[in-house]
């Protein structure tokens, strides 16, 4: 399932906010096509790592490599164009746009017409718009959202908003997808369904997925490899079985977190 090529690698990645070290010496090696879990207690620095990888934050230390290319100095926009897409822990949809338009915005890199084509509604505009609409609809179908295509994004129920964010990210055609607590606020049935969808997405789009999640059943059930973070530093890395049986992890996180 996974081949040997590294899609993502970081070296000594870190960031300080004022005096506070939020993330320190974070190293990760992710293989192409891998589903990888990033777990740890609240405030451990998981979301901050996503913000570093996507250049929302400027790292104070270390380097990030995507497919062997150093992307540490790239911008948020170019990181996406190079192949990383993400969702946000506190959902950031384009709230006044429709569900369909949210996905279309993610696909604009492949829409080829210029301002004049659109203002004059030339055939090129019509054809490209038709194509992007069809592509966006097929993504919505994958997430069971097609019947909501014309609904304003902010009017969707919470669980569906999370799915829409994933669909929007996929529209950018990424090689690496970062999901920040994708199952948060979902009921068990929705969570189970989401697990299947994520597996399907990995196969269908042949991409690697790095996900943050608190639901241990979810993480253990879907991830091939897991890194545990505590106080901004890596506590352990391994397969789900290794993590489950790691005494340090149990002491710091799993033991106290599982009722």
């Amino acid at each position: 399932m996974t081949n040997g090529r590294l899609i993502l690698k970081t070296e000594n990645l870190g960031i300080e906010f004022g005096g506070l070290t939020a993330v320190k010496d974070f190293d990760i090696e992710m293989k192409a096509n891998q589903i990888y879990g990033l777990i740890g207690p609240n405030g451990a620095g998981k979301t901050t790592i996503f913000n570093l990888l996507t250049k929302v934050y400027e790292p104070t230390h270390g380097s990030i490599y995507l497919n062997g290319k150093d992307i540490t100095k790239e911008s948020i926009v170019s990181v996406n164009q190079l192949g990383i897409a993400r969702t946000f822990q506190n959902i950031r949809l384009f709230k006044d746009l429709t569900v369909l338009d949210n996905v279309k915005v993610g696909m604009h890199h492949s829409v080829r017409y210029n301002l004049l084509d659109s203002i004059l509604k030339l055939p090129k505009y019509r054809n490209e718009e038709k194509a992007v609409r069809e592509k966006a609809m097929s993504l919505l179908r994958l997430f069971d959202l097609e019947q909501f295509a014309d609904v304003k994004a902010s009017n969707l129920p919470y669980g569906k908003q999370r799915k829409l964010e994933i669909a929007r990210a996929l529209g950018t055609n990424p090689k690496l997808l970062l999901l920040d607590e994708p199952a948060a606020g979902m009921n068990p049935a929705e969570t189970a369904e989401l697990m299947e969808t994520i597996k399907t997405v990995r196969e269908k789009f042949s991409l690697a997925i790095l996900l943050i999640e608190h639901d241990m059943k979810f993480v253990m059930g879907i991830c091939e490899r897991i890194t545990v973070l505590n106080f901004g530093q890596v506590l352990a890395t391994g397969t789900p079985d290794e993590i489950r049986n790691n005494p340090e992890v149990i002491a710091a996180y799993l033991g106290s977190d599982e009722e």
Partner: protein, 354 residues
């Protein structure tokens, strides 16, 4: 018939509603003019009101769609107006057809205003926050002062220009185009209501086609969430620049229409108050709501004139109307009520279709 209805209202409902409103209003006004039942006061206001609707739509593109505040749209109008005066005068001997001369003036005025819009947006739109508001405010003032101090004449030897003090001497047959604070005088009044309405229709089409394109979606996405837009690969600076330049160009075109409607035009006509008034039309019509902008501008431009008979009470009534509109457009209960009526009508329409 049912098909026609869905095709008409369907995806581009708002665009078609705006076009319908403008065309119906045009026909009604033309008929009233033909039957002689319009007062000349009202007739004289037709071109200015059309200009203001166009510039208000342009401003709504920036404020409502792009989510940036511009306090200097009167400045773009001014650039358009005086460019239009210059172009129209220079071409007066070459092109005898007034309509053609007007159209060329509008195009040139729009391009020059768009260029200034581009110059402003280079430094400003890179920054986040309310910088655009501050810079456009300054821009409006600077443009007013510049034109106030510009002396530009034209004769058989070409252009003659001086700044701050008037040292322009013209040969026989020469004409002062911009005469400092006096502005433009003895301008051929070539603007017509019909050309204005056509320009308005073109503006509506341009704005809605823009909104319904990847450019419009990108700019609205950026407005809703800048980080999220960047995270899906949107170049937010480029996107906002395109919207702003387009808006400046349309405001310039409106300025030409306005400027060539009066034989005299002072630069102080396009001051800060003017920019704020245009913003008031936009806010009262609803941010991003083009239909509302058309209606609110129409009412608010005409109202002070139509209330003249009230003499001293005029501005009092004007203020009351402003407040009432504000309450009506922002009151959730009233909005709900209007929506409900509309939805019921739509539902009935759908039933009829079956």
């Amino acid at each position: 018939m049912a098909k026609l209805k869905t095709a008409f209202l369907g995806k581009n409902r708002n665009c078609h509603l705006c076009l319908g409103l403008v065309i119906i209003a045009y026909i009604v006004i033309e008929v009233l003019m033909y039957t002689g039942s319009l007062k000349s006061l009202f007739i004289n206001l037709l071109v200015p009101v059309t200009s203001y609707i166009i510039v208000a739509l342009a401003l709504n593109l920036v404020v409502g769609i792009s989510g940036e505040l511009s306090l200097g749209h009167a400045g773009f109008m001014s650039i358009g107006a005086f460019t239009g005066v210059i172009v129209s005068n220079v071409m007066a001997t070459m092109i005898s057809n007034d309509i053609l001369r007007l159209v060329i003036s509008i195009i040139v005025g729009a391009i020059v205003a768009a260029f200034f819009g581009f110059l402003i947006s280079i430094p400003v739109l890179k920054l986040q926050g309310d910088y655009l508001a501050i810079v456009t405010l300054a821009f409006g003032q600077i443009i007013k002062s510049l034109i106030n101090n510009t002396f530009l004449g034209f004769d058989s030897n070409g252009f003659h220009f001086s700044f701050i003090t008037n040292t322009v001497t013209l040969g026989t047959g020469g004409k002062m185009l911009i005469n400092g604070p006096i502005g433009a005088t003895a301008t051929d009044r070539i603007s017509t209501f019909t050309v204005g309405v056509i320009l308005l229709i073109i503006t509506i089409l341009i704005i809605f086609h823009f909104i319904n394109s990847k450019y419009g979606r990108s700019v609205m996405a950026t407005r809703d969430d800048r980080i999220a837009a960047q995270s899906v690969g949107i170049n937010v600076v480029k996107t906002k620049t395109i919207a702003f330049v387009l808006s400046a160009g349309i405001a310039g075109a409106a300025g030409v229409l306005y400027g060539l409607n009066f034989s005299t035009l002072v630069p102080a006509r396009f001051d800060f108050n003017q920019s704020i008034l245009i913003l008031v039309y936009v806010v009262l019509g609803g941010l991003g709501n083009m239909f509302g902008t058309i209606i609110s501008t129409f009412i608010l431009v005409l109202l002070p004139e139509l209330l003249r008979f009230l003499a001293d009470y005029r501005m009092l009534i004007y203020a009351i109307v402003l407040i009432v509109i504000m309450i009506v457009t922002n009151n959730p209960t009233i909005n709900q009520f209007i929506k409900k009526i509309f939805r019921r009508k739509k539902a009935e329409g759908e039933l009829n279709n079956d």
